[in-house]
Symmetry: D2
Subunit: 345 residues, 4 copies
Amino acid sequence: MTRVGVVGATGYTGLELIRLLSRHPKIKIAALTAEKNVGQPIWKIFPSVMGESDLVCQALEVESLSRTCDFIFTALPHKAAMEVVPEFLEKGKKVVDLSADFRLLDPQVYAEWYEPHIAPGLLKEAVYGIPELHREEIKKARLVANPGCYPTSVILALAPALKNHLIDPKTIIADSKSGVSGAGRSVVLSSMYAEVSENFKAYKVTEHRHTPEMEQELSRVAGKKIVITFTPHLVPMKRGILSTIYATLQKPLSEKEIYGVYSKFYGNEKYVRLRPPDLLPSTADVFGSNYCDLGWKVDRRNNRLILLSAIDNLVKGASGQAIQNMNLMLGLEESLGLDLVPLYP
Amino acid sequence: MTRVGVVGATGYTGLELIRLLSRHPKIKIAALTAEKNVGQPIWKIFPSVMGESDLVCQALEVESLSRTCDFIFTALPHKAAMEVVPEFLEKGKKVVDLSADFRLLDPQVYAEWYEPHIAPGLLKEAVYGIPELHREEIKKARLVANPGCYPTSVILALAPALKNHLIDPKTIIADSKSGVSGAGRSVVLSSMYAEVSENFKAYKVTEHRHTPEMEQELSRVAGKKIVITFTPHLVPMKRGILSTIYATLQKPLSEKEIYGVYSKFYGNEKYVRLRPPDLLPSTADVFGSNYCDLGWKVDRRNNRLILLSAIDNLVKGASGQAIQNMNLMLGLEESLGLDLVPLYP
Amino acid sequence: MTRVGVVGATGYTGLELIRLLSRHPKIKIAALTAEKNVGQPIWKIFPSVMGESDLVCQALEVESLSRTCDFIFTALPHKAAMEVVPEFLEKGKKVVDLSADFRLLDPQVYAEWYEPHIAPGLLKEAVYGIPELHREEIKKARLVANPGCYPTSVILALAPALKNHLIDPKTIIADSKSGVSGAGRSVVLSSMYAEVSENFKAYKVTEHRHTPEMEQELSRVAGKKIVITFTPHLVPMKRGILSTIYATLQKPLSEKEIYGVYSKFYGNEKYVRLRPPDLLPSTADVFGSNYCDLGWKVDRRNNRLILLSAIDNLVKGASGQAIQNMNLMLGLEESLGLDLVPLYP
Amino acid sequence: MTRVGVVGATGYTGLELIRLLSRHPKIKIAALTAEKNVGQPIWKIFPSVMGESDLVCQALEVESLSRTCDFIFTALPHKAAMEVVPEFLEKGKKVVDLSADFRLLDPQVYAEWYEPHIAPGLLKEAVYGIPELHREEIKKARLVANPGCYPTSVILALAPALKNHLIDPKTIIADSKSGVSGAGRSVVLSSMYAEVSENFKAYKVTEHRHTPEMEQELSRVAGKKIVITFTPHLVPMKRGILSTIYATLQKPLSEKEIYGVYSKFYGNEKYVRLRPPDLLPSTADVFGSNYCDLGWKVDRRNNRLILLSAIDNLVKGASGQAIQNMNLMLGLEESLGLDLVPLYP
């Protein structure tokens, strides 16, 4: 059994790591940290895991965590992550970081969208953790940067089309819609029930920090620099992201021809499901699971491809994918702990 | 007091007409029809109006309705409307039809998206009922075709930009999101709570029947034929539409310059509110009211305009706008009965 | 026009006062206060009232407010209210206080459930503001204590039964369920969307501070001391309270006989609707309105009366009732500004 | 591997059986029946199980099902179940029936609340399937009547108190609140999103068919006939039941003393979690799992016990408990396939 530490256990991605790791046959959760809850049993904070875990939250001390843990998940806010990840690496631990801190290769881009990076040397080493695109590098990585939830949904949808030059990369528009847990467990007015329920709105239009991450990965797949328009929206639901992505086709294609390309690209990928055109993706169909469901329609009148991509933002969009990455880094069967049938309704 | 008949009173737009007309100072609801509920008091069907209305549902008989009513709202499914509207006109009644039957000028386009039209002669006469665009014709009309909910949100957002040639009309994409009441009160699986809650999805992608209606009106504003991409989505909420609309700018413009154009176009329009860029529209802010809130951001990196438009689909998207049209047709103050402050939260 | 000040304008009851007073024909909102938003236009905080109000939040200064306002609503947290209400009274202003501070006649009961009272002398003078029970005293009052939302729903339901000795007062159990806006606009974890949606729970069981308020009023109606069991629950919805109330009948009665008693008790009360047994109350039927819907069933097998009571917690449970009280205090028609048809769906 | 047939696979309990059985290590789903979907792959009906199951719906033919299946779940409406269950038993199959048809021991009580029973001879044989109360009989049973969702929540909460004579059995009131999936997948107006969202109401007050089932089991535990008051309510959520149960204590007891009794009664029961008084049950904490969370508070002022009980109506309230019963009937480890951590948020 590999002993795992979850640093930042009291956020929603932290809890989702606990939920999934509790059933992982080769993993033992060895430590949970949470600055504000030191000394508290995790089930007092999240009674859903009463009877599942007796672990008590501890302070984030690299020294002591390194003694009790073989592998570390950092589920901290950005900036907090880059302060501590290098120390774990120095101690010889492998790390999956769920923050944004190691996702961008270029420290200048990081500085532009976030702030100056304090461990820029690690940016080149960190592997961007979408196994369907970077499996072999992830297997060898010490540090995996777990992707953002929006980027996961957008990149998986666009990769086959860009790789195969189906679309004009200058025309990409990603209109994404997310449930509220994507904003985390921070107590803020805009996440309150009375503000969110029966409400739908866009936010951070043209300014969302997941944009450079998408562009970096899409550019790598396409082999050329790509700049997209990305608009996130808040949906009155807890979990789930649906991205609706538009791009002009390089030449007319049928839905079936596109199926051919996508089917070849994703082959036997376990967590990507290609939906037929009469059964387009919906977030409820992936709820609680590690699936990314992809579908598409061709707008023949405008020669546009419309891609639809659904994930559970806390699973494939965060903790599920993090465990998928960990499995690869530890040389385990990739699907261990992730054998989740979506919960419907 | 003008005596008004609501034909098809037991749908959600029918009920919304009753709610609003109950407080209209110059109107008396004289008759309600509902085939399946003949003889039933309306408050037994909708207990929300208990004590507000003693009206009993009657059968749809043109003859008798024409005796008791001066003005008719038809809130019927498409096809059912075109069977009865001509008869009311013959009786000398003015009509606002809330169905799709008289919205398209061209019977062939109607046939293509719906079925062959049985009263094609009226299509040219019917006025498309967006007062902000067609006020003078509405004043003189016998028959107003009340717009669809999605078209209202999209057309009001795009009209100033197209009229002023700010955008490339070939690049328009409307990504719209609607609450469930937009699907009406028909009892269907896809409208059930357990199917809709915690779920988000697109539907009728590239095929929604509101598309030709939008294109007709946008083409008229632009002075040239416009073909758009339109994608409707279902949001887990009861009321509200948010449309996110993308188009490439003809030349770079700031948000402020766009404000200048929109502000001039809508001038003193009471029901269009122009939101500042740091306070983009959200459906909750127009809930229960006749407002259409418009906002925008410029994606400088891609030279795209992103328009955001929020309405309550049952008010400005249906019954509220229908009453606005009625007021104009009857020579009344346009805002009578529509003086609604949005309900928040 | 009476000039009204809303003290504490940025909570949900404050906003609801603004919504309703904006359409009151005899009232002009003259001032809004909000400590944290001094200098900000109210529509920047609540964009729903954009175009409705140009008022700017000011600090709470009794002196200056007393110059510009004839009548004051205090929509402050308890304790904050009792610090300022006496000063407004001294300035000769009439006040409706929406907090709990003046609802209890007995300072010792207040001390027991809250903290020591700093203006105990006013407790005897303040009138408990349920117009259906205390109309004549309200008309003469300088200070009306606007009831809590739960108490409004429970007291209106039980008053006729207790007054007419239908039930055994020792057996009363009130099981109440409230939407989240009842917890106000404070930013707390337990009001966050991800915590509330798809969740249902009881809270403050046996300990909720609305208990003594209910018992005081029920005791007054019954003419004897009453102690009840009260259990509040949180419903994943924004607005609305449904109370299900149980009590043993003193002797067997039919639903129809109970109707006779309730109908006589409430007579022509405009805001109490007695629902037939086949159409029991539901919160959606009173949404956005000042109605309290009452219904009941007799459990013959156990000789128990089951009362059901539905209100909108922000209208009849707070701001609507506050305006009803204000109208009475100012000698105005009681229903001015409250002529609201519930919004359904 | 035991080959299992799910009769009535396209309801929500049918789907939940599929979800859970898909991960059961000793079970193979061998057949699914659905009259209206014969020939359709189950994933076309429920795309959530795309890639999980290739099974195609077949007609309900006892003969052929008996050849391919060793064990049968009937997830049919009541009445339909009793028509087919006897035939499966005759074929030597063991059956867990999820309908109400075999839950009542007394055919006359069944006739009173439902209709005349057509297989009354089986009523005595069928075992009421709450393992925590009837484990040994379930192990030997051919036919287990899987309990209703409300009864599961109420019976588990009351059993220890009744068994130990803590409460006066004449004073029991169960006020239960359920998510909408409890009403099944039937397409009815009252289950539609626009009718349920932002709404809370009671229904079938004093008349719900789960009442006799509760009374039968509570009477058996108590050793005397018990008649209760039961009020079901509809909560705007998909899954979950919370029951709030009131009863007068025979003598004053502290929460801690009650813990002693409950802790002894449930001992090592895996699926009953006793929550401390400062952390009362909530439906979200059991979402997606087989847990029943129990909590309580003593209302000292009225000497009443207030019990709180939370389950997921589709798991412990239906399909999860059905599998727990199946495991016992097949001599398997009771928790196989049920090792579910609740999904939160």
